[in-house]
Amino acid sequence: MNKDKNTDKLFREKLLNYEQQPPAHLLENVLAGTAAARRNRKLVFWRVAGVAAALLLAFVAGWQFNYMKQQTVNQPNIVRQNSSAKAKEENNVVSEKATGSDKIQEAIVARNQFSGTKYSGKSGQMTSRITLPAQMDSRAIRPMEKSNSEPIAASRNEESGALHPLKTVVQPIGSNNQFKHLLEEKKLNRSLDNNQELTLDQQIIQQNQQLLRAQYEPRKKTHWLVGAQVSPAYSVNRSSHSSQYENNMLNSSSQSPVELGGGLSVEYKRGKRWSLQSGVYYSGLGQSSGNTSNSSRSLFANADMGAEFFNAPASIVAGKMMINSSAGVIQMNGIPSGVVLGTNLEDKSLSSAVVLSDASFIQNFQYIEIPLYLRYTILDARFNVELIGGVGSNVLVGNQTFLQTSTGKSLVGKTQDMQGLNYSGTFGLGLKYGLSKRIFLNVEPRIKYFLRSLNSNPAVNYKPYTIGVYTGLSYRF
């Protein structure tokens, strides 16, 4: 044991103050590296601030746009509602003679309580004097007026974490005079050597600068990533309507259907932080309506018809039945089987027909989205964390309305006035885990909100947002 200690002491004495002159080119590398690190630290703050500002701006712009739209939709309606109060009572519209099929005739049942309905069985025609409120027909609704401590400190802390105070390595430093003397002496020696080695040094410096540039080049290297993702998309209804429209609207259900979306993505990454993403995504949007009227003031809404029946007003034009929903006017191809239509009711405020059914309406919209997302890597490790923000163009490719009854689901029509093209804003968080050098597993919780109303009907302002967790794989090349 003592022998070991003696041997250790010998090693220590020989090696503790062991010195050797490093190659001259190292200083150039150190100075260049220090300058680069200094620039990077300054950039970090601006990068983070820039990303935060861009995301905030996109989000605020989206909300501001919504707010302005909401104001322009609601304001003129209030004025018109007052002025057209009289007209509402006088404008009794005689419905056109419905020349429907036998199926429709069977569906129309003149009940005792719905007095006033004239039904001619022979001719197969229904002549009813149905008072249709102007607001029920989307065409009758007058169009709206068109006014529609700093990152540097943080990095320093990170470093200082690795630099906890030295406990046992204490190197005595000589007095000030000693240092002065040493510095002057070495300076003199070096100045002599430097003159002799200048050309050789210059060559080495040039070589090293080239090497240093090559070392930094991979950071700016560009990458392409292609991937496929799927996501369950949960839609949250966000809508507002004119008061006239709202009085005759179905209550929207609190249960929003969960749709499946997904698609292909292409990402272009330049450097370590920023990347641009596009692709093609398919996304579904669901809206479910209950079987009660939104207006509790109407007499029919309070009628004891049982919870399984619609107590909502409907209009019939050219054999097509229309019902107001929060997403827009549902236009049915005919009167669906299992639906009971009550007309000529003794309700002055209604002046319309009432649909009775134990069903609920499900409106489905399908979009193809072409996004343009900006991604910023906030944590670059085996487990990457990215901020995502951007916009997308959404093309409507599907529009169906289903009637969900206890016996099943049947396609009954579509929603009127849906916009063919819409724009959305998206922001989210991207978590990327490297399964290998080239293959990554992505999990991305995202929120997408539409910038304009999906329905062009001026009485409807329907801008839902969807929450989804996009999961998939991407391949880097």
Binding site: D8, Q21, T34, A35, R156, L163, L166, L183
Partner: protein
Amino acid sequence: MEDFKSIISECIAGSQKAQAKLYHHFAPKMFGVCLRYAKDATEAEDNLQDGFIKVFANLKSFRQEGSFEGWIRRIMINGSLEKLRKLHLMYPVEDVAIYDSVNVSDDVIAKISADELVKLIQELPPRYRMVFNLYVIEGFSHQEIAQEMSITQGTSKSNLARAREIMKKKVHQLFGEMNAQNNYMA
């Protein structure tokens, strides 16, 4: 220390002249440290370069209370430790008793130059080299080494014992025989 205060302030301000001055003062000694922890001169140069970039980036965090040279030395050692951790080197705990013990006279070691000793240390396997340097040269305890290297104290002791044996064997092979030859010649 007062002299360094002004140089440090200038370095923090970004003066390359001051940085060069500081580098020239400490580089030879720190290169000596890096050479002991590296497998060869190229790795030592890399460590020295990275270490000094860290020194200049973190000068603000130096509290100017303890030894400045000690602080820089610690950064160099930490750089080597970091590299070793990234290598994920795993050595089984070995029973020292299975190796033949070699006796080397301290006189032989005393005659060997520092350059030659550094070369011998560089030939040690990375983890043994690290433990040997930290314990024998820097004076760390096994507990501190265990914390720094995320190993047990037992492993640290075992690695040190193994490193010592390898060193002795190498000294014996290279210098013991030479010594004997010299004696014979005499």
